[in-house]
Subunit: 353 residues, 2 copies
């Protein structure tokens, strides 16, 4: 039976990425060796790293004032790397937007380095919307926000104008919509949503914002040190980077971010229309802040729960349970999820009477 | 033609690891989904993580006073995690042994956190031996050493008795010899030598040594936080951990560390005997400190270089060039390198007249 993988991440990737990356493990580029056993400094892998760094800039339409890094440690490591690299050692102060558990995680780490002002928060409403109408002045070393909140299914469709360095955790919606990426000074994202398998984190940073804090940064946490070694300061996560390159090549070969955005709009319309029109279901997030990636919703009639759960499982759907902190359901619809899978889910939703 | 991969890391792994990990990318455990697209919290992957943590303890013959973590970021991240977690915030002081470029890298990071005393160094002799006859008293928060030095081909065959916490970077010889692992309080190792592909770092730590520094440690750098979440504080590097488990299962199914050590002794004897008996070659490291993993040597008659290089390449050998900082040749013979490959190299060495 065909599988429909709505997992929140790690999540579905293009099928050709699975095939090509499995092939590379058996024989990489026809060299008679596995991708897993070659040196990261071999010409075959250096070419992978170079192309992975280049394709990110092409897809985002950003210039040479940006540097692209592929690092280990997860996006959570960026929660401390950002203040290490951007918050001044003396009198450091940053503005954060609190839109969910992960944003709050970034805030917690920021506070270990200096003053953190939370310029907006929807915590009291269980993060069901994106706060707006705040100002961020030049007195801050940077502003940090989270573009998409997987648990709640909210997404920033507009970004504020700020008078300081703009930092964004784009872990769960990077490469899914054609926002103006050149608006940001530092973007980071764990790979395991739209970009690749778990184990690598993308960092895109404007060089000009670095080196200004007066901190003695541990070498491995210093963006400038990674940039100086072209993202090979130490042995990089070879396989996750290769699978990420394959995923980004698939995106580029299928119309780039603009085309992906159109497909994502279509998928989102299909399921949100069903949620809004079917009296059995209710969306969680405020409509204007609804995410195109993660759709959190609940079944209003609990007596139908067993029937609904059995029906979607029977249809080949997996990964639909909501995050443990919110309950209900969550349909994660990253770039690689086909419209067909959303249609299957919507058909199941329609079938419950 | 059969390949003989002497790469210094990432390096050769058992052939069945390549086959099984490629299979898992196409269909993991027969569930109809790729290993790359399932949640790290799915029961299938939690079972991988649990078994990976358990097998490390079985192989090392260590008890439940140890915790096993699989982290991202590389062994270089441990250079700062170690002092963050072990060096006291006030008056912190640690002892380090300087046996090579990587040991020096750890020292550099340690100095950012407190006082570092270098209790022994072979730097002035280009790291050709392991310093001995030093004492490490209880006034130090910990002692840090590097068990094997890939570039120079030196290895610690004996470890000092110290009156403090014993920390060892075992990146390039872990699981290769039956040392008493219970002698150490904290061991760490990047996977990409004897353990698995690049992208994951093993940390084995005694819980009792943690939580004593008075530092406000960034969450993601805090061993106790990782332990509290059973190595799932954030999304772990799923594929590298799975391939690591396969490699360790292969080791366990082939007699464990003791049997691997016997095979490694055989391989080392074969090549060192040739180096010592063949007047064309000379080993780099002091004999008593020779590594069983990395054999650094030079060709004494430069006029034979083209002939030798052509001969080993024609024999299917790769990865034999020495590290750029030392020149010459380096034969890396990790667990997965068969004796047959060493024999092929020795035959080539004998063929040069």
């Amino acid at each position: 039976m065909k599988k429909h993988n709505f997992s929140a991440g790690p999540c579905i990737l293009p099928q050709e990425v699975f095939q090509k990356s499995a092939d590379a493990i058996l024989d990489f580029n026809g060299i008679g060796l596995s991708l897993l056993e070659i040196s990261h400094r071999s010409k075959d892998f250096v070419a992978v790293m170079d192309e992975a760094r280049a394709i990110v800039k092409r897809l985002m339409k950003i210039g040479d004032d940006y540097e692209v890094l592929f690092l280990g440690g997860g996006a959570s490591l960026q929660f401390c790397m950002v203040p290490f690299n951007l918050m001044k050692a003396e009198g450091g102060k940053a503005a954060y937007l609190d839109t969910g558990v992960w944003a709050a995680g970034a805030i917690k780490e920021g506070k270990k380095f200096g003053t953190v002002d939370i310029v907006g928060s929807s915590k009291e409403d269980n993060y069901s919307f994106i706060p707006k109408d705040y100002k961020v002045g030049a007195e801050y070393d940077y502003f940090h926000c989270t573009s998409n909140n997987t648990i709640y299914g909210t997404e920033m469709h507009k970004f504020p104008e700020v008078d300081t360095v703009m930092v964004c955790d784009m872990s769960s919606d990077i490469f899914s919509n054609a926002r103006d990426y050149s608006k940001f000074d530092l973007m980071y994202a764990g790979a395991q949503k739209n970009m690749g398998p778990a184990g690598v984190t993308l960092v895109v940073v404007k060089k000009e914002i670095l080196g200004k804090t007066g901190r003695d940064i541990p070498t491995i946490l210093d963006y400038e040190k990674h940039i100086g070694k072209e993202s090979m300061l130490n042995t990089p996560p070879v396989f996750p980077i290769y699978a990420t390159l394959l995923t980004l090549q698939h995106l580029e070969n299928n119309g780039g971010i603009e085309a992906a955005e159109q497909r994502n709009i279509q998928k989102a319309k299909l399921i949100y229309d069903e949620i809004d029109n079917n009296p059995l279901f209710e969306g969680f997030a405020k409509k204007e802040d609804r995410s195109f990636m993660n759709v959190s919703f609940k079944l209003l009639d609990e007596s139908k729960k067993d029937e609904f759960d059995a029906a979607w499982k029977a249809a080949g759907i997996s990964g639909l349970n909501g995050h443990r902190s919110l309950g209900g359901y969550r349909a994660s619809m990253y770039n690689a999820l086909p419209l067909e899978s959303v249609q299957v889910l919507v058909d199941v939703m329609k079938s419950i009477k």
